[in-house]
């Protein structure tokens, strides 16, 4: 019983958060504005955490993550808006889930297609390819008239709410945490730390890199599907390079290689511009200044490789000795060998 509680208490925390929010909403302390910002924060956490898997844990450099988000958004929106429109109330949730799944699959499939050639190589090729990919997706979506072309897709049902977003966010973080502490995760981290050494140790680096990339693309696709169903309107230009760079900023400000960092970075930096609204014209200048200060004093990001307890699985429980903890990564690795 105690063990069960220990495993699931982060999830329980999220449920508690949701109940607290609903209560505060019903007594009028929290209004729709806060809920709206929280929903975007949740989506951004999913995007940042998935980007973290590629950039932070596998050591690759993807800079077109919004491209996967747009594929997921369009994939999901096509299912819910065009294939199964005006469904009765009881069928809405299955259709919504199907849409998100389709969105994620489309993104993962395309991720595999562009990952296969570029991840076989060592070096920064993925950065260039994903940059181009983001722009190509945008250009192609603009041309397809049945889904609205450059004018965008309207009338997407408002299926996503805070509960769904918190659910998928928790699921994402739970899966990513377990993945990172699994043999797969150890392979990812080995590739990040030294690809040649990992290869020499017998890790099929290409396979693991593509796996990590596809999983990240899938999560980004689901996040995109949620985004489409919050906004009820999507257009190709929403998923431009600016959007991709937003996620990079969240990732590196939070600290790459730390899921806690992704949560903190995405949540704080989504909320911060809204908190700073009272500064009117100076808002974005102060926002940028805060980012610079964070990067100056904590160049490794807010969390920089560290995790809060609930985002960590005790190494001792898995192996005799911690594989790596905090800064003493290198000595820990050699200690194991």
């Amino acid at each position: 019983m105690k063990k069960l509680l220990k495993t699931f208490y982060p999830a329980l925390l999220v449920v508690a958060l949701y109940i607290a929010v609903t209560l505060l909403r019903s007594v009028g302390i929290l209004n729709g504005y806060y809920i709206q910002v929280m929903m975007f924060a949740g989506i951004n956490i999913m995007m940042t955490a998935s980007l973290n898997l590629v950039n932070g844990f596998t050591g690759q450099f993807c800079i077109g993550h919004a491209g996967f988000m747009s594929l997921g958004a369009y994939g999901a929106a096509i299912v819910t808006t065009m294939l199964f429109k005006n469904v009765p109330a009881f069928a809405q949730i299955p259709v919504f889930l199907l849409g998100l799944f389709v969105g994620g699959c489309v993104a993962a499939l395309i991720g595999a297609l562009i990952g296969l050639p570029s991840l076989k190589l060592k070096g920064d090729y993925l950065a260039i390819v994903t940059l181009a990919f983001g722009e190509i997706v945008r250009a192609i979506l603009r041309l397809i008239q049945p889904i609205g072309g450059a004018r965008g897709m309207i009338g997407i049902p408002n299926y996503a709410n805070l509960a769904w977003i918190l659910f998928f966010m928790t699921l994402t973080l739970y899966l990513l945490r377990n993945l990172i502490y699994s043999p797969y995760g150890r392979a990812f981290i080995a590739i990040r730390d030294n690809e040649i050494a990992a290869d020499a140790m017998g890790i099929d680096t290409t396979r693991y890199k593509i796996t990590s990339f596809c999983i990240a693309a899938f999560i980004a696709g689901v996040a995109g599907g949620l985004y489409a169903h919050v906004l009820a309107f999507i257009q190709p230009d929403s998923f431009s390079f600016t959007k991709s760079s937003d996620f990079l900023v969240y990732l590196y400000a939070g600290g790459s290689g730390s899921l806690t960092g992704s949560i903190l970075g995405a949540a704080l930096l989504t909320v911060l511009p809204e908190i700073l609204r009272f500064l009117t014209d100076w808002r974005l200048a102060v926002y940028a200044a805060i980012l610079v200060i964070v990067m100056l004093y904590r160049s490794e990001g807010l969390c920089g490789g560290k995790e809060l307890p609930f985002m960590r699985i005790s190494r001792a429980a898995l192996y005799e000795k911690p594989l790596f903890g905090g800064r003493k990564k290198d000595s820990a690795v050699s200690g194991k060998q």
């Binding site: 209004n31 504005y33 709206q36 910002v37 004018r151 809204e274 609204r277 805060i290 004093y297 807010l302």
Partner: protein, 388 residues
């Protein structure tokens, strides 16, 4: 040391958040006397120039009112709350929620872009808060619901205006060349044909091409020239117009050329060169307009903003705000619902671009202006056009 700093930064953020909360709850209390109007525009981001003109346009009215407005003999405080949407849909939805739920505004002026209006429109519609979008020309914007209005005319309406102008100028035959792959061009063409033929004119030739990649229009233009029209109409996008005008003059089309409002940019003159002389286009507004209301607006605007001349963004923001004020004056009570009804019933409101009446589809029926380029590629006001 670093930890202490991090802690301090966090604390500062928490206090900032707390401060925000206090502000808003303070406003909520009691003061029914204050009327709040939200203004949503891109103050930062890559469309910040448009946002600057929009705030300047609204400031003309804010400055004139001086924080007070008299409605049916009672004086109220009026406050304009400017909100930055960074020209992003996501931020627009946040800002709409904030204005509607937290600031409790009675109506919202803006946003200026169709994409932002489409994303945030459902929020205002669900909360039943009237919105007057400024420059959102996409027809779908007001179809979101009965609380969404706009201050600009929709694309097809320009076709009607062009037809009216060409007919009024005494040209009985017109030839058209348009981009059949573009919604703007097809919308203008269809509306033009309908109105022009109903007025009694004849469309003698219609030539089509597909997409903005076309650079050589000589085949279509030669056919247009062979039809010998009294006037030609090019309802196309700005990237295409320069070459079209240049090539039209090249194949011997000497009659007047009329375009849509996409010609309202210096680029057209730069590409077409001297050929741009006497090319006319329809537009929402001109700072050179001679209508008394327009002259008054331009004078006030330039006086307030150190000689800056208003553009269409500024003028539409001004008109949208005037519409909201007019609705406040004429509403049965100061509720969002009454303001919406008053907005829907606007009839003959005098605005800088002419007399305005709200149509059934919440699109304004109002006049525009015809502008004409001189040989240097500078456009000048020719006449005002009012819908008949």
């Amino acid at each position: 040391m670093k930890r202490i700093l991090a802690l301090l930064v966090t604390l500062a953020m928490v206090f900032a958040l707390a401060a925000c909360n206090n502000d808003s709850s303070g406003n909520k209390d009691g003061d029914v006397e204050t009327i709040k109007i939200g203004v949503v525009c891109p103050i930062s981001g890559n469309s910040a120039i448009a946002g600057k003109y929009i705030t300047h346009g609204v400031e003309v009215i804010e400055n004139e009112l001086g924080g007070k407005i008299e409605i049916k003999g009672k004086e109220y405080d009026i406050e304009f709350i400017y909100m930055d949407n960074e020209a992003s849909e996501e931020k627009t939805t946040n800002v709409f929620q904030k204005l509607i739920e937290e600031e409790k505004v009675i109506a919202i002026v803006g946003p200026d872009m169709s994409k932002c209006a489409l994303a945030a429109g459902p929020i205002a519609q669900n909360a039943k808060c009237p919105v007057v979008a400024t420059f959102a020309t996409n027809t779908a914007v007001t179809e979101v619901g009965d609380y969404i209005f706009r201050a600009c005319f929709i694309d097809p309406f320009q076709g009607q205006m062009a037809a009216q102008y060409i007919w009024d100028s005494g040209y009985k035959t017109t030839a058209i060349m348009f981009n059949n792959a573009d919604a703007y061009a097809t919308g203008l063409t269809d509306a033009f044909k309908e109105v022009y033929t109903s007025l009694g004119g004849t469309v003698v030739a219609v030539e089509e091409y597909s997409g903005s990649d076309v650079k050589d229009y000589n085949v279509q233009l030669t056919k247009l020239a062979a039809a010998d029209p009294e006037c030609v109409f090019f309802p196309n996008l700005l990237g295409e117009l320069g070459l079209q005008i240049q090539q039209a003059r090249g194949v011997g089309i000497t009659c007047p050329i009329v375009c849509g409002d996409s010609a309202d940019t210096p680029e057209v003159g730069e590409v077409a060169g001297p050929a741009v002389k006497d090319v006319a286009y329809v537009s929402a507004f001109s700072a050179e307009s001679t209508a008394p209301v327009a002259v008054e607006f331009v004078e006030k605007y330039t006086a307030l903003h150190n000689g800056e001349s208003p553009n269409s963004n500024a003028e539409l923001a001004y008109e949208a705000t005037q519409m909201v004020l007019y609705a406040l004056q004429n509403a049965d009570s100061l509720t969002r619902e009454s303001v919406r009804n008053a907005l829907a019933n606007i009839n003959g409101l005098e605005l800088p671009s002419g007399a305005m009446t709200m149509g059934d589809d919440r699109n304004p029926i109002k006049g525009g202006v015809v502008m004409q380029y001189d040989a240097d590629g500078v456009s000048h006001f020719v006449s005002s056009v009012n819908p008949s």
